[in-house]
C-alpha cells in the first residue's frame, strides 16, 4: 500500500486532464492505496455546484467527485489561497472537502509516497 496524493490544478472546463486524474484517483483507491486529493489553482472551481459540463462538450464527471467517500478517499483538501482568489467559501462546496492552508498541503505532500499532478 502506498500513499498517493493526487493534485488537481486545472479548471473543470476546457481540459480533460481532470477527468483522467479522477479515474486514476478512484482506481488507485479501489486497488487499496491510501489516496488523498488536493484542489489548487483553477481546479478549485470543481467544488462549485450546478455546473453543466455537457454544454461545452464535456462529460459530466463532476458529479462523480461526490463518490470519493465511497472509495474511502477521506482527505480532500482545497487550497484556501486559491479558493480566496476565486471567491469561494467552504459553504459553496458541492461535495465533501476541507479548506486547507499551504502548510497543511505541504505536510500532506511530504507524507505521500507518490504525488501525481493533473
Amino acid at each position: 500500500m502506498k500513499k498517493i496524493c493526487v493534485i488537481f490544478r486545472h479548471s473543470p472546463i476546457g481540459n480533460a486532464s481532470n477527468r483522467e486524474g479522477l479515474d486514476f484517483a478512484m482506481l488507485s483507491a479501489s486497488f487499496e492505496q491510501e489516496v488523498s486529493i488536493v484542489f489548487t489553482d483553477e481546479a478549485v472551481m470543481h467544488l462549485l455546484a450546478e455546473q453543466q459540463p455537457e454544454l461545452v462538450g464535456s462529460k459530466d464527471y463532476l458529479s462523480t467527485f461526490k463518490a470519493l467517500s465511497l472509495y474511502d478517499i477521506e482527505t480532500v483538501l482545497v487550497c484556501q489561497e486559491s479558493a480566496k482568489q476565486f471567491g469561494l467559501s467552504a459553504n459553496d462546496f458541492n461535495f465533501e472537502a476541507e479548506m486547507a492552508s499551504t502548510h497543511q498541503i505541504q505536510t500532506l505532500i511530504q507524507q505521500a509516497n507518490e504525488v501525481v499532478v493533473y
Binding site: 498517493i4 486532464s17 486497488f31 507518490e114
Partner: protein, 129 residues
C-alpha cells in the same frame, strides 16, 4: 538499484514531455536502475501510433520508444481507455470497435489503470512527464 515506473502524459508531437521522459528513461537504465514499465496515459498514448511520420530532420519519438524498448526489453503499456478516446487502437480494439484499421504499434501493449497502480506499488518511485 532503484525500481522506477515512468508515466508519459505528453503527446508524441507538440510538447517536450515525451522526449524528456525518453531521456530520463535512458539515463535511469544507463545508471543500472530498473524500469518496471513505461505507462502511457492521457495524450501520451499518441506515442504508440505507428503512423507517426515526422519530417526527416525531426525526432521520431515513436521510433525512439520502440527502439529503447527492444534494446532493454522494456514494458511499454498504453492505457486502453485513454488510447481509444484518442483514436489509438490495437488490432483487437479495431476489430471490437469495427474500425477499418488499427494503428498502435505492437511494441506497446494495451493495459488498464490497474496495471499502473500495481506497478506503482511495486516500484520505488513514479516519475510523470
Amino acid at each position: 538499484m532503484n525500481k522506477f515506473i515512468i508515466q508519459v502524459n505528453g503527446t508524441v508531437y507538440g510538447s517536450t514531455a515525451s522526449f524528456r521522459a525518453l531521456r530520463f528513461t535512458e539515463s535511469v537504465l544507463s545508471l543500472g536502475h530498473q524500469v518496471t514499465s513505461v505507462f502511457f496515459y492521457q495524450d501520451g498514448v499518441t506515442n504508440s501510433s505507428k503512423l507517426i511520420s515526422p519530417a526527416s530532420d525531426e525526432h521520431d519519438l515513436h521510433l525512439a520508444w520502440s527502439r529503447l524498448a527492444t534494446e532493454h526489453n522494456l514494458n511499454l503499456v498504453n492505457c486502453v481507455s485513454a488510447a481509444l478516446r484518442r483514436g489509438v487502437l490495437s488490432d483487437q480494439d479495431a476489430k471490437e470497435n469495427r474500425k477499418e484499421t488499427s494503428n498502435a504499434s505492437k511494441q506497446f501493449v494495451m493495459g488498464g489503470l490497474g496495471e499502473l497502480v500495481t506497478n506503482i506499488e511495486q516500484s520505488d518511485r513514479l516519475i510523470c512527464f
